[in-house]
């Protein structure tokens, strides 16, 4: 019944209790994070793809030979090296490559702007509600719930019908102002858990003002969480923009990836086998958003020691 004791077992992760047992000076947490970051395949993959697309978005429009909305090429031509129509042309003779890189650039702008606005509002609402509690928290909660429940689609239709011209800015702002609730909720919960810690009280005893405490004590403690949240909002904004564009509520003065997909469907590109029209934008959206999410999962593992595969 009793077996012979074996030799080494699986190595456990380092924990604060074990450190208290008298471990040596550990690596600073930043160096430790970088060490794990470089070894995490998901993170490396995600960053590589995102950075590659970003570079493409920056450099691409400089390489495009034609303006995105300009007509003039052969109608529905397949990709060719001739005349710079590397991704072929649309049914109306527009340069698909040019539209594509323009759309990529717009996608990043919407992501940054829309995601940034959503993150900003989410932080403002979430931190305030979590730190102050009480009546302030209840009011902000109500506000969050209302915005969460608003049918954004209907709202956008109403806005769209009033505005004669909608630009990328309008779209970004709209996305930013309607996608912050879940971020606010999450940050509020995190703030709650940190506010009860004694170091916040100690900061108050040191005469620190509330906002200083929030941004210098609490926020740095969840810096990894904030970072990951921004990435999610970024990716989410791109996806929402693509969806809005696809159903025709996108910017009216330019062309984006979602709009390319919309036009290609409207013009029956699938049936006409014009694969170069709808495949690049669709794959691009998938690639960007997907790699962002994969990056996030990898980041979670880097920041949270318990999830690391050791």
């Amino acid at each position: 019944m009793s077996s012979a004791p074996p030799t080494a077992l699986a190595a456990p992760a380092d924990t604060p209790q074990l450190k208290a047992l008298g471990g040596p000076k550990p690596m600073s947490s930043l160096r430790e994070a970088v060490h794990f970051a470089l070894g995490n395949r998901k993170l490396v993959f995600g960053i590589s793809v995102t950075v590659a697309m970003l570079l493409f978005a920056i450099v691409g429009p400089l390489l495009a030979s034609h303006a995105p909305l300009a007509y003039g090429g052969d109608l529905a031509a397949a990709p060719t090296t001739h005349d710079g129509y590397w991704f072929g042309t649309t049914l109306q003779g527009q340069d698909v490559f040019s539209q594509f890189v323009n759309g990529l650039r717009l996608a990043f702008i919407v992501g940054a702007l829309g995601g940034g606005i959503a993150a900003g509002i989410g932080m403002l609402v979430g931190f305030t509600a979590g730190y102050r509690g009480g009546v302030v928290d209840e009011v902000l909660n109500m506000l969050t719930n209302v915005v969460l429940v608003i049918p954004t689609f209907a709202l956008l239709l109403v806005i769209a019908s009033y505005l004669r011209v909608r630009g990328i800015m309008t779209e970004s702002v709209f996305i930013g102002f309607t996608s912050w609730p879940w971020a606010a909720r999450a940050l509020r919960a995190q703030t709650f858990s940190l506010v009860s810690r004694d170091f916040v009280d100690l900061a108050r005893l040191s005469g620190r003002s509330s906002w200083k405490i929030i941004f210098r004590e609490i926020a740095p403690n969840m810096s990894s969480y904030l970072f990951m949240m921004f990435i999610l909002l970024f990716g989410g904004a791109i996806l929402i923009a693509a969806t809005l564009d696809f159903i025709g509520l996108g910017p009216s003065n330019t062309i984006s990836l979602g709009m390319m997909m919309q036009l290609s469907v409207q013009n029956a590109a699938l049936q006409l086998h014009l694969w170069w029209w709808f495949l690049p934008p669709g794959l691009a959206i998938m690639a960007i958003v997907g790699s962002l999410y994969v990056m996030n999962v990898g980041l979670d593992e880097v920041f949270n020691p318990k999830l690391r595969e050791m």
């Binding site: 009793s2 004791p5 380092d14 208290a20 047992l21 008298g22 471990g23």
Partner: protein
């Protein structure tokens, strides 16, 4: 001999190396004996308690033997220990009362627990109610949620569950630490009651509070930095401690009655050594007022007449008052 532990070594493996949390510990606990395991944080007492039942997956068994009722416990094998847990060796872990599932009524939780251990049935249910009654909890406790119980009541519920199958060995890990002084007394006395009624054979009580051990334990074992320092019957450890660490520890306890203005007590300066790379020889050497060159060599554990000690400079059987030690610094 109910429990026999011989040269037990349990380390924790970390990124920086092995933390030698328990480094060669040997002792016996007889049937019907309550042994107290005292020491400060990092001394290895919790590791010892959890190691006897193999509760913590981060532990790495390195060597030694544990024999309970004549049978060797396979503490290196998590799966093999499953047959022993709860029936022969049982533990009330630290923070057990905080670990009760808040969404389950007590009765349902116990029922599920017993079913997984293959011990459900009418006889067990009756015994459970009888024992709950014994510790001052009526059977209606089974219909309550954990949040409706006070700390002391939860602790007693956990103790009843742990001893339901009459284990040979009960390990109580810091069961009185988080409690108020009045409930502490009730819970500690419950431990004695369980032993008196034969629900458990031997008990190991792990705590940093020597005063509580004096009240309920028969023997006290003092640990320091992963090794044993001293072992003696409870009254003797308190009235005539021999190991310098024990003596300094006892003399730093402010009893009700001692006032700062009359007599200033002193703690022990310094900190326990790092267990990652412990010093050679006696581990208390750096903080010990009696240390000599001989202490560079590790003192052996010597046991006679029911008292054990690991010290070269230990006082003879009747030491001077502890204040002499303070002045010697």
């Amino acid at each position: 001999m109910s429990l026999h532990v011989e040269d037990l070594r349990v380390y924790y493996r970390t990124l920086a190396g092995d933390v030698k949390a328990l480094d060669g510990v040997s002792f016996d606990v007889a049937d019907g004996e309550i042994m107290g395991l005292a020491g400060e944080s990092g001394c290895g007492k919790s590791t010892l308690g959890k190691g006897l039942i193999r509760l913590d997956g981060r532990m790495r068994y390195v060597g030694g033997h544990v024999v309970l009722d004549g049978e060797e416990l396979p503490i290196w094998d998590d799966a093999a220990m499953n047959d022993f847990r709860f029936r022969h060796v049982s533990i009330v872990p630290q923070y057990a009362m905080s670990a009760l599932n808040p969404t389950r009524k007590i009765g349902r939780m116990i029922h599920e627990l017993l079913r997984t251990r293959g011990a459900s049935g009418n006889g067990v249910q009756q015994e459970l109610e009888r024992r709950l009654e014994l510790v001052g909890l009526g059977p209606d406790v089974l219909g309550l949620y954990p949040i409706e119980l006070s700390g002391g009541m939860k602790q007693r519920v956990v103790m009843v569950i742990s001893t339901l199958l009459d284990p040979s060995l009960l390990i109580a890990d810091e069961i009185t630490s988080a409690l108020d002084v009045s409930t502490q007394k009730a819970v500690a006395q419950t431990l004695v009651e369980f032993r008196d009624r034969g629900f458990v054979k031997s008990t190991i009580v792990i705590t940093h509070d020597i005063a509580v051990l004096f009240q309920v334990a028969d023997t006290i074992l003092v640990m320091y930095a992963g090794k044993l320092a001293e072992k003696a019957p409870a009254e003797e450890i308190v009235s005539s401690p021999r190991h310098p660490y024990t003596r300094l520890l006892i003399s730093s306890l402010p009893e009700v009655g001692v006032r700062h203005a009359e007599q200033e007590l002193h703690g022990i300066p310094g900190r326990p050594p790092s267990l990652l790379d412990p010093p050679t020889g006696c581990r208390f050497r750096d903080r010990c007022p009696l240390a000599t060159d001989r202490c560079l060599q590790e003192p052996p554990w010597v046991e006679e007449d029911g008292r054990g000690i690991a010290c070269w400079e230990a006082a003879p059987v009747a030491p001077a008052a502890p204040s002499v030690l303070v002045e010697a610094r």
